[in-house]
């Protein structure tokens, strides 16, 4: 990951902390471990390739489809509120290795934002791999005690009377935000609605795209 770690020590960072690149020793370590595990028959080179391809294939578009369905299909919404994981599965999303999925629906009064303060837990079965900033020290530290400030950095300036709720993810519980349905989008077909639903709006650091 390429984020810069800051510790508030007020001077330029030492080269190791600031270097976004992986240390050569770790490139070697990965290769050595991979080769040994293949030779021992733990997995094959093809298994690694397939895993990478499978992960690359999971994009936030899955989540966008989920949200569009949630907005338009009352039965699906009810099912998703009850059991997000089962609802995702019912859409054909592979949740076989995924923990529980809780749906956080935004309203004009309540806005949700998701973080994992302890590590990087993320609804990856639905959205793919998390963005670098989600894993950063800055986001993890500040999201819980200065969510309004963090959201402003993302360009989301919520009115003071909107209640912001921060959901801190765990290894066993993941969250997907259903953003407010944009004004003027009622009656649009699901595929067009899905195009309004961005990754960031499903993490809660932005709203869905406006219509038009």
């Amino acid at each position: 990951m390429s984020h810069t770690q800051t510790h508030g020590h007020g001077h330029p960072h030492d080269p190791i902390e600031d270097n976004p690149d992986v240390r050569p020793e770790h490139l070697l370590l990965e290769q050595a471990m991979r080769e040994l595990l293949i030779e021992k028959g733990v997995f094959s080179a093809a298994d690694i390739t397939r895993q990478i391809e499978d992960m690359d294939a999971i994009t936030p578009a899955q989540g966008s489809t989920f949200v569009a369905k949630y907005w338009t299909d009352p039965e699906f919404r009810k099912a998703a509120q009850k059991d997000g994981k089962a609802a995702a599965e019912s859409m054909g999303i592979d949740m076989s290795v995924a923990p529980e999925l809780v749906i956080l629906e935004n309203t004009p009064e309540v806005h949700h934002v998701v973080v994992c303060t302890l590590c990087s837990c993320y609804p990856r079965a639905v959205l793919g791999l998390p963005p670098a900033w989600y894993k950063s020290v800055e986001y993890r530290s500040r999201c819980v005690n200065d969510p309004r400030g963090v959201l402003k950095e993302f360009g989301l300036d919520l009115p003071e009377d909107v209640d912001i709720r921060v959901a801190d993810s765990t290894a066993d519980m993941r969250y997907l935000v259903v953003p407010l349905q944009p004004e003027g989008s009622a009656g649009m077909p699901e595929e067009q609605l899905a195009e309004l639903v961005t990754r960031d709006s499903m993490i809660g650091v932005s709203q869905a795209k406006p219509v038009g």
Partner: protein, 100 residues
Amino acid sequence: MMSGVHDMGGLPAGPVDRSEHENSFFEKRVDAMARLLSDQKRRLIRVDELRRGIESLPEYKHLTYYERWLRSVEILLREKGVLKAEEVAARVEEIQNREC
């Protein structure tokens, strides 16, 4: 109780660097390795163990995200007797010679 190095919720920190980052091949391979080792077929590693390994790294703050994952996987595989420290070290040396 003292907080671990990973327990950073609420600590002071600077602005969020929002730049997007495409995962490198190294990052994707480490991610794939960890997931394969924890899948239904292999069940060699659990996510809680992966975290315990990550959080126990003394150099946590100096490592990138997937470097932590890799080091944790190495620790766990040694603990479980799947890999031996000596064979990993020998292979690293052999690869270095191979590439000279």
